[in-house]
């Protein structure tokens, strides 16, 4: 658990970067600090491991005032990941990951063994251990950065915009993996980002900060969307707030049956047909035809996103992105279960709204 108690940071030039911050980060959760550039996120984060000392106020990590511990000792017990990964160019990937265990006095062999385990944990092949950081892609470097931060198994992990320098697709993969990893390791994580989508996706709780170092709202993601505390938060969480809210509503929409056909079948139909393979995985759609026609691969129209039975957002997206306006639902194996209709999703949304779960 990390507690900020009336923490203020005023830099020598007079800039107030953080103003009377009161906030508690629960143990074993991800708390995201989000806000526009320059609002004091990094400063708040760096006061936890004493990369910056507060002007006034107290920060407690697991009940202990950080100012009572000397900085190097404190930092060895707190994982720290930064935007550019900050890997040591002259050390191999394995030695980078082994840094903190070695500093903490582990013997070389044990530190290396631990480092090799960590590479696997963050999804990097063992042979990457021998490479130098410059030989890795940005996304791979970030994984190494995370592995290095986790190497001595610290209870607390500080992450400062760790994924913002990688391209969006890689970023999404890294986010998914962080969530998967967190489910395993259950660290107390403080994650800084300026990206509200990232904040809503990763945060168990999100602290929205505004310029001048003020905390605008500290709440669960769904609550930020459904009940923003003020205009600043409402604006910051964005225009498609209503749509985003769907992410936090589990779907209660009817799944309709659908006739599935296979390549090689002959069909007569004036409605959309879903084409599946032998294991009932969706291949694409066949548009309505006059008369009868044989289903061939070149007649297939690619399908939209798949609905996995999770959130209203994924149900609506599946329906909206499908050429037939029918969202394909699949089971855990990827086999077709049925389809959802966009109007059912809207009805479910109306029901949720009536129940007070959604902003009006």
């Amino acid at each position: 658990m990390i507690e900020f108690r009336a923490v203020t940071k005023r830099f020598e030039d007079g800039t107030i970067a953080v103003d009377e911050l009161d906030l508690t980060v629960e143990a074993g959760t991800i708390t995201v600090f989000v806000g526009p550039s320059g609002c004091g996120k990094t400063t708040s984060l760096r006061m936890v491991n004493r990369m910056i000392d507060p002007t006034s106020g107290t920060i407690l990590v697991d009940g202990k005032d950080v100012l009572s511990v000397d900085p190097p000792t404190l930092r060895r017990g707190i994982g720290y990941v930064i935007q550019q990964a900050g890997l040591f160019p002259h050390r191999t990937v394995l030695d980078n990951v082994a840094t903190v265990p070695l500093l903490s006095g582990w013997d070389r062999r044990r530190a290396r063994t631990r480092a090799a385990e960590l590479l696997e944990t963050v999804g990097l092949p063992a042979e990457f251990g021998k490479r130098y950081p410059a030989q890795l892609s940005g996304g791979q470097q970030q994984r190494v950065g995370v592995a290095r931060a986790l190497a001595a198994d610290p209870p607390v992990l500080l992450m400062d915009e760790p994924f913002s320098a990688v391209d969006p697709i890689v970023r999404e993969g890294l986010q998914d993996e962080l969530l998967r990893l967190q489910a395993e390791i259950g660290k107390t994580i403080v994650f800084v980002t300026h990206d509200i989508d990232e904040a809503l996706k990763l945060g168990d709780k999100v602290a929205v900060m505004r310029t001048g170092g003020h905390l605008a709202q500290y709440a669960k993601p769904a609550e930020l969307l459904s009940a923003p505390a003020n205009d600043f938060v409402a604006n910051f969480v964005g225009k498609d707030r209503g749509y985003r809210t769907l992410t936090f509503l589990s779907a209660d929409v009817p799944v309709h049956e659908i006739d599935a056909v296979k390549v090689g079948d002959t069909v007569t139909s004036n409605s959309w047909k879903l084409v599946v393979d032998d294991t009932r995985r969706p291949l694409g759609w066949l548009s309505p035809v006059d008369g009868s026609v044989e289903v061939t691969a070149d007649r297939l129209i690619a399908g939209g996103s798949l609905y996995d039975g999770g959130t209203l957002r994924s149900a609506l997206d599946a329906a909206l992105s499908s050429p037939s306006a029918l969202g394909v639902t699949v089971d855990a194996e990827g086999a077709v279960v049925g389809v959802v209709h966009a109007d059912d999703v809207l009805k479910a949304l109306a029901a949720a709204r009536a129940a007070g779960e959604v902003p009006s």
Binding site: Y80, I82, L87, R91, T99, L103
Partner: protein, 220 residues
């Protein structure tokens, strides 16, 4: 070139091998003394970021000193011998080494230094384990520049009665034996190349392949 290959010149207490050893000794001892002064200074100022003006001022000031004048002044003050030679040569070698070390450390990416502190290194560790290893290519650059200047300038030791390959140059000049003079100059040039090769070798051995400017591996 006949002079250079005459076996008679390759033996005795004033022969070519003795002079080469003397010259080489001036060189490495000078570089060692200069390193002891310049590396810690450059590293400290580079690490703390405080006193950069000192480095710049000292470097420029020392570079402006005419080495021959220094030599003569110290001779007048301390007499003939090794002291004036080393004084003049060390003053020559300090600026490039200090500037190289300072520049090398300043050039290490701030995010890397930040990460070094962030993982819990003490200041000494940040400097020795992270900043210096990454600064090495520029540090070596400073040493190679210094070595080149020292090897060629060590010739003037002979001007104040000391040894080294300069003997051949100055004696050749005095006795109008121009082939001896040329032979001495060629030996100085060869020694300069050899010393540089030694540094290239040392650099290969000590600079991590992951460091930008190490010559291989880095492709950032």
């Amino acid at each position: 070139m006949g002079w250079l290959f005459d076996p008679a010149h390759w033996s005795g207490s004033t022969g070519i091998p003795v002079r080469i050893v003397e010259h080489f000794t001036y060189t490495w001892l000078t570089l060692l003394i200069a390193a002891v002064i310049a590396v810690p200074l450059g590293a400290f100022v580079g690490h703390t970021g405080r006193g950069g003006f000192l480095i710049v001022g000292l470097t420029n000031g020392l570079r402006a000193l005419p080495t021959l004048a220094v030599l003569i002044i110290v001779v007048l003050w301390a007499g003939i011998g090794d002291v004036p030679v080393y004084t003049a040569l060390v003053l020559l070698a300090v600026p490039p080494i200090m500037a190289g070390t300072y520049a090398g450390i300043r050039a290490v990416e701030p995010s890397i230094v930040d990460a070094a502190r962030g993982v819990g290194m003490h200041e000494g560790g940040v400097l020795l384990q992270v900043e210096l290893p990454n600064a090495l290519p520029l540090v070596f650059g400073g040493f190679r520049g210094a070595a080149l200047q020292v090897v060629s300038t060590a010739t003037i030791a002979a001007y104040v009665g000391a040894g080294g390959l300069g003997r051949f140059v100055f004696d050749g000049l005095a006795f109008q034996e121009y082939d001896q003079m040329l032979g001495g100059a060629v030996l100085v040039a060869v020694l300069a190349v050899l010393v540089d090769l030694v540094f290239v070798g040392l650099q290969k051995l000590t600079v991590s392949p992951g460091v930008v400017g190490a010559g291989s591996g880095g492709n950032r």
